[in-house]
Symmetry: C2
Subunit: 292 residues, 2 copies
């Protein structure tokens, strides 16, 4: 029945990406839909799997991301950092009846702080093992929650998560600044002014300054969203970056450009890494280890 | 018709407080309702004033707060800091047909930042002139937007606004932390842990740590709201406070206790000032200056 093909699924909070993989780790087909874990209850998963089988045949499935969380299908305990790809494969949740395995996330507990990830670990370790980034490297993965990850000797040794993207969305959609944040967000002068203003801390007051700046005619209304984005991303990057640091940015589109711009402005060097290629490399390594 | 009585109105964004004042500045009656400027259009104000007249007679009205903003009845331009109570009275918007005057807000433009207030200036300058606080003093006024105000020689010389309260509400009502933030917020151990964690900066990552802490069993779910409040208030206070600073806190109830706790924990001294008494003292001074 199977010819070495399998399904790799990046099953996140709001989106799901499905890849039909050949035995060498190449994607033969790619689909993206909105059936993230927030749209599904635990009882929905068997039917979801049945649907995939009906379309792609009875081939193995390897999934990563929030599908392994308490909000997903099957709670797959975190692997404590430091963690390499072998540790992820060893701790994968095997579900033989479904012909599926779920890759665990990674946790870290350090003095005074704790953090978790689910899904990003496959990208980062995939990037390293596929040669898309060095085996000692730092990464950021902008999104709703931006992950800053340090890899040493091909293992995730430290990371922290910033609520940057979510906070921007909350301010744009629900705050007193909302009506001012209708303009575009690009890596232009307003964004860069924001980065400079955000690097110094005092984020809580700097954000209100967006409103005051518009009211007093010092900030163009069309620039307010870009400036606010710059404040948040500037604060985020400044808290992590030292002069000359090289940061591998795993993200596409607008966010990659914004983070690359902020990193450069604050004295670092941004290197773009293809997030999808990184995920496929990582998930294929897990698949090979599961089969070994 | 008039016997020296007048109406003082603290007309804010969501609430309105109406005081029937005697000629010496004592409040004879007090009412609070929800008819803030967000519930009214510019056309509604004449009828609102008619209603007040029908109840209290044809006595003068002095109003402060958002009623003088672009969202209120009549845009009353800001007075630039430094500003004392005389400057506020001079720049008041007199509306003879309505028998009313609107007290202006205060603005500040400094290198790299701008800020505005409407309503808080009456409280702060009233507190100083009534002897509730020294003529050289620092204030904070917690609320949706917390104002930090420096007064020298009975004039507002500098201030900045922090979105602390609004950000807490956004996180509690709309964020990925929302379902964890159902517990009480008091000045207890969880709040104080939050203050300690928030003082060091890195707010964007510390906030995500609330979620990770609960998921990893290091933070009790019932404590998450208090801890998150501590993070925000700790970051807010730490950005403003130096060791030994005396801060006059103009606010009532829970927020005053939280800010007083955070200020003490971070090495300052909090002095409580009755916000209503301060407002009445300030608005009565304006009334006397308008009549002079």
């Amino acid at each position: 029945m199977t010819d070495g093909r399998y399904l790799a699924i990046d099953w996140g909070t709001t989106n799901r990406r499905i890849y039909l993989m050949d035995p060498t780790g190449q994607a033969l087909e790619t689909e993206r839909d909105g059936r993230g874990v927030l749209t599904l209850s635990a009882d929905d998963y068997p039917m979801e799997i049945d649907r995939l089988r009906a379309r792609f045949g009875a081939i193995p499935i390897v999934a990563a991301g929030m599908v392994g969380s308490t909000r997903g299908w099957r709670d797959t305990p975190y692997v404590a950092a430091p963690a390499g790809i072998e540790a992820l494969a060893r701790a994968a949740m095997r579900m033989p009846a479904a012909g599926m395995a779920i890759v665990p996330g990674v946790s870290i507990v350090a003095p005074g702080r704790a953090d978790v990830m689910r899904g990003e670990e496959v990208q980062v370790l995939g990037a390293v093992r596929a040669g898309l980034a060095p085996s000692d490297a730092r990464f950021c993965q902008p999104g709703t929650h931006n992950k800053w990850i340090r890899v040493e000797d091909s293992r995730i040794v430290d990371f922290s998560t910033a609520m940057t993207g979510e906070l921007f969305a909350l301010l744009r959609d629900h705050s007193v600044l909302a009506e001012m944040m209708r303009g575009p967000v690009t890596d232009g002068p307003a964004f860069r002014d924001g980065v400079e203003a955000g690097r110094g801390g005092g984020l809580l007051t700097a954000l209100f300054g967006v409103r005051a700046g518009v009211l007093l005619g010092r900030l163009d209304r069309d620039d307010a969203a870009a400036f606010a984005s710059g404040l948040l991303i500037g604060a985020d990057v400044a808290a992590q970056l030292a002069q000359g640091d090289v940061i591998h940015v795993l993200s596409g589109g607008t966010l990659r450009a914004l983070y690359a711009g902020a990193i450069a402005l604050l004295g670092g060097h941004a290197v773009a890494v293809d997030a999808e290629a990184a995920f496929l490399a990582g998930i294929h390594l897990v698949k090979e280890l599961l089969d070994a």
